[in-house]
């Protein structure tokens, strides 16, 4: 097992580095080849000022040289200065926003997994009964309702009407601030995971292995945890990449609805007013996050299904 674990890690690393390079390059070219620049926005700047700005940020150099410089900087962990936010470096913005976004996204992912897996299992075990029907309806709603609709709704109910939780805001260390954003962000992912788990668990429950386990007289709880759950989780792991993408998109919205100082901050504005370095830098960080999560999913799959481990094959 350990052997193939290392092989997987190495393979992912060997694949991840060129992937990131391709992402940087394509993103860089896309952004730079677009007509217009960061400094020809609303009010016309005097040509001398603009030239000065371009020189400061190296925008007057040939594209290839800009590209080389950017790549070199990224390798040293520097994502360059923000072109629009004065005196801010992108890496500092990332450093500020990442903990907030990771907390939000991580908690939402954990919540979505807990709710999705337990709900999906419950629906499958209670197939066709009241609990199954209710969960089926709720999960469709959760999938279809985007977080920016549920978020204000939740705020209105729990913060304005009941007054239990804060409306918005972020104070480090105040966990109550996190409840509503995390729940709103987790809902759609939880809904889709629930549907995946239900379908998968139904297939597993109908398999001869489960019948055999029943015939062996094992207890219902033992069968559920040790025989039904692990094979049910394989498709969940496969969908984790998609779930992460969904959470990421959702986190941009949630951060803006609740005014959280996360990674999404300045990102949309940056895209609209051509803050190249800011957009590139943050997109790059997000890509790394997605790759890391996919690696985690692969490791999980290896643990759940020993058939993927080539070493155990019959000799």
């Amino acid at each position: 097992m350990r052997n193939s674990l290392w092989r997987l890690l190495l393979g992912r690393l060997l694949f991840g580095v060129p992937t990131l390079w391709v992402v940087i390059t394509v993103a860089f070219l896309l952004v730079r080849l677009a007509p217009g620049g960061p400094f020809d926005a609303e009010q016309r700047l005097p040509p001398a000022v603009k030239a000065n700005l371009d020189r400061t940020f190296g925008l007057d150099r040939p594209l290839v040289e800009q590209y080389q410089r950017y790549l070199g900087r990224v390798l040293h962990g520097d994502l360059g200065p923000s072109l629009r936010l004065r005196d801010r470096r992108v890496i500092d913005l990332v450093r500020e926003g990442l903990p907030v976004s990771l907390t939000l996204g991580g908690l939402a992912l954990v919540l979505a997994l807990l709710v999705g897996i337990s709900g999906g299992l419950l629906a499958a075990v209670r197939r066709g009964r009241a609990a199954d029907r209710v969960l089926a309806g709720v999960s469709v709603l959760a999938v279809a309702l985007p977080p920016y609709v549920t978020a204000p709704l939740l705020v209105w109910i729990f913060a304005v009407y009941l007054g239990w939780l804060p409306v918005a805001g972020w104070t480090a260390g105040r966990w109550l601030d996190l409840v509503l954003p995390v729940v709103a962000l987790a809902l759609p992912t939880a809904g889709s995971l629930l549907r995946i788990v239900r379908a998968s668990a139904l297939d597993v429950l109908a398999s001869p292995a489960i019948q055999a386990a029943r015939a062996r007289g094992l207890s219902a709880t033992r069968i559920l945890w040790a025989h039904v759950l692990p094979p049910t989780l394989s498709p969940v792991l496969a969908s984790l990449g998609g779930a992460a993408a969904g959470l990421l998109g959702g986190s941009l919205v949630i951060e803006s609805v609740f005014g959280l100082p996360g990674m999404g901050r300045f990102l949309v504005e940056g895209a609209l007013n051509r803050d190249y370095t800011l957009v590139l830098g943050k997109v790059l960080v997000y890509a790394v996050l997605v790759l890391v999560l996919n690696l985690g999913a692969d490791l999980g799959a290896l643990l759940l299904d020993p058939r993927l481990d080539r070493r155990g094959a019959p000799r």
Partner: protein
């Protein structure tokens, strides 16, 4: 509820929504951008003729919601059509040619998977500015990835199917083999994929429009209607309700439809 009944019901619901979105706005005396200064922000009422009320500028919510549904659906359908064609072609090519071509195409797909579609849309906004076309390109560039993977796997599986082997043994040429024996069997799974892609693209559209990157005022889409509705939720909840119900119905109907058809195919034998 039996699976077949569920398929029929969701299909009927989707058909109803589609017809309403297509002809609904034309039947109303109001138009998408028409301002009714006498009735700004009125609640749903029969008297003024605004069955679902008006927004703060006096525009009819029913008409705007249906028109928004039309815009959202058009974008989603078009984008998933692009995705299906591009992904289908790539997947079929990779799956049937194999070797170097396969490896190259699939690595491209792998790289694409590292970039969530929202980020692609953000990048493209820098290049193309904001608007429906950016949305379309973003959804198209990312939507083909999963189709490509699925079609490739399916093509490889079909290439080993006994009847394809039999056809090969009697000397059917590769091109004809693909055309007559593999392609027809790809249509089913691809259609299912499409039914599941469209709702996710409707949600994506609403996401990006909500962030201000998609469809722009005065045009309506479910996304920017929901954006306005969420802002006015306490004063004028009907602004949020109408587009939210439409979004939930269309996404819910297509999701359940796609899943039911997929299960029906999977458990047919």
């Amino acid at each position: 509820m039996s699976r077949l009944l569920r398929i029929r019901l969701t299909l009927a619901l989707f058909g109803l929504l589609l017809v309403a979105a297509l002809v609904g706005p034309a039947l109303s005396p109001w138009s998408v951008a028409a301002l009714d200064w006498d009735h700004p922000a009125v609640a749903p009422t029969w008297q003024a003729g605004h069955w679902l009320g008006t927004d703060t500028l006096g525009r009819d919510v029913l008409v705007r919601s249906l028109a928004g549904l039309r815009v959202s659906l058009s974008i989603a359908l078009l984008a998933s059509a692009i995705g299906l064609l591009l992904g289908g072609a790539t997947g079929a090519l990779a799956g049937s040619v194999g070797g170097f071509v396969d490896g190259l195409l699939m690595r491209i797909v792998d790289v694409g998977y590292a970039l969530p579609v929202v980020l692609v849309a953000l990048l493209l906004t820098v290049v193309l500015g904001r608007g429906a076309s950016t949305l379309l390109v973003a959804a198209g560039t990312v939507g083909w990835l999963s189709t490509a993977r699925m079609v490739r796997a399916e093509t490889q599986r079909l290439a080993l199917a006994p009847y394809v082997l039999a056809a090969r043994l009697i000397g059917v040429a590769p091109v004809r083999l693909f055309w007559r024996h593999v392609l027809p069997n790809l249509i089913g799974p691809v259609l299912v994929q499409a039914t599941l892609t469209v709702p996710s693209l409707v949600v994506l559209e609403s996401f990006l429009s909500f962030l201000g990157l998609g469809v722009q005022e005065p045009n309506a889409s479910l996304g920017n209607l929901l954006h306005d509705g969420a802002r006015e939720m306490e004063r004028a909840p009907w602004l949020l309700l109408a587009p939210a119900v439409l979004l939930v119905s269309v996404v819910g109907a297509l999701t359940v439809l796609g899943e039911s058809v997929r299960d029906e195919i999977a458990h047919a034998d």
